[in-house]
Symmetry: C2
Subunit: 218 residues, 2 copies
Amino acid sequence: MTRLEPSPTAPRRKRLTVEARREEFICKATEFFAEEGFGGGTRELAAKLGVTQPLLYRYFPSKEELIQAVYRRVYLDRWKPEWDALLKDRTQPIRRRLQRFYEAYTDAIFDRAWLRIYFFSGLKGVEINRWYIAMVETRILKPLIAEFRHEAGLAPRDPPAPEDLELAWVLQGGIFYYGVRKFIFELPVEEDKSRVIANALDVFLAGLASHYGVTIPP
Amino acid sequence: MTRLEPSPTAPRRKRLTVEARREEFICKATEFFAEEGFGGGTRELAAKLGVTQPLLYRYFPSKEELIQAVYRRVYLDRWKPEWDALLKDRTQPIRRRLQRFYEAYTDAIFDRAWLRIYFFSGLKGVEINRWYIAMVETRILKPLIAEFRHEAGLAPRDPPAPEDLELAWVLQGGIFYYGVRKFIFELPVEEDKSRVIANALDVFLAGLASHYGVTIPP
DNA sequence: GCACTTATTTTTCACTTGATAAACAACGGA
DNA sequence: TCCGTTGTTTATCAAGTGAAAAATAAGTGC
């Protein structure tokens, strides 16, 4: 089984295998640290991986670097690029846009491991957590307010009023806390997530319209 | 400086001193674990207290018992008994009641140490955290729904519909997350807490009324 | 001043932690 | 078959962990 072009590809194939192993390490480490917190021991993690502890240090120079890799795995690439367009797609009413967005978004983040890493890292005060929250504000809440104002016939305003942002945060936090109760605290919650989102949006949009003395088309 | 009644009071005064010291330990331990998490070392804690590490074991049989004491200090006695009456005081409109309640309640729990211990213990899955959340549902959200229905002229319903509870949780979680952003993530937020609460209640109550096709007196 | 209790520190233990270096095993190419 | 590269384990280290025992300091009642 000799290859025609062995010299450039053969070493690359080996490196790829290494990358796959590395990926497996990160994946399992995410689950592990999600359960144990970042204080979890490297030996226990290695046992979970079915390897010995020093092997971890062949792939990551330190535990901290492994944790950084977990951060990246958890925080980055969660956001689907089409969501930006969805939120701003004025061919459909804002309620339907928000419903679709929040269903997809919560599908992506309502996951025990994700939520736990989110809070563990947030409690540690790491930068990537603040970066993520800034992204939420920029890509969800600001468009949400802008689109609401447009749909309600209010004059556009950029940047949005801090008060409006704060109101959007109450909605965001309210929906988010549903996931926290279900996946972190493991409490019994209403199981129909779509319904929870629908009701939350219903109350929020009607309340915001009333707050501004306007009406929005259903 | 001899005392007239030394025999019964003198030993009690010593015990009192011990209790005071114990209290100081718990108090400082709360701050310490709030910052470091429960993985924080006993030596570092002792240094913060200005004593040596083995002394902790004179007052608490184990680190875990000290942590339990911290839980009790944090979770118990936060709830002011008058809040129950406040929420049900039908001599004032529900909006004012909720405004007053949430201002007082958030004054009590929007505290860096409290919120961090809340999440550290919640992530650990300890029982007292679940107990606390059950209390929130019983003493805040259920009355809130019941009082809203009364004020809106809707038939009383006990227990409240799960859907209504879930809606109340969105409000609760939304307000709570304001504290999380400010005191845990330390992000810049709207500083006027009363205003945030007022707006959140405004939108929620108007939205809920619209949701049920009713009106509530301002 | 003296005996006795009690608060506190010093010393120490057994174990766990992250991390390193050396030994070993597998495998691919000549 | 041997060689060298590489993935993996074994053995080990120094520092830090919760906890206990022993030694010391500081009162307290008589």
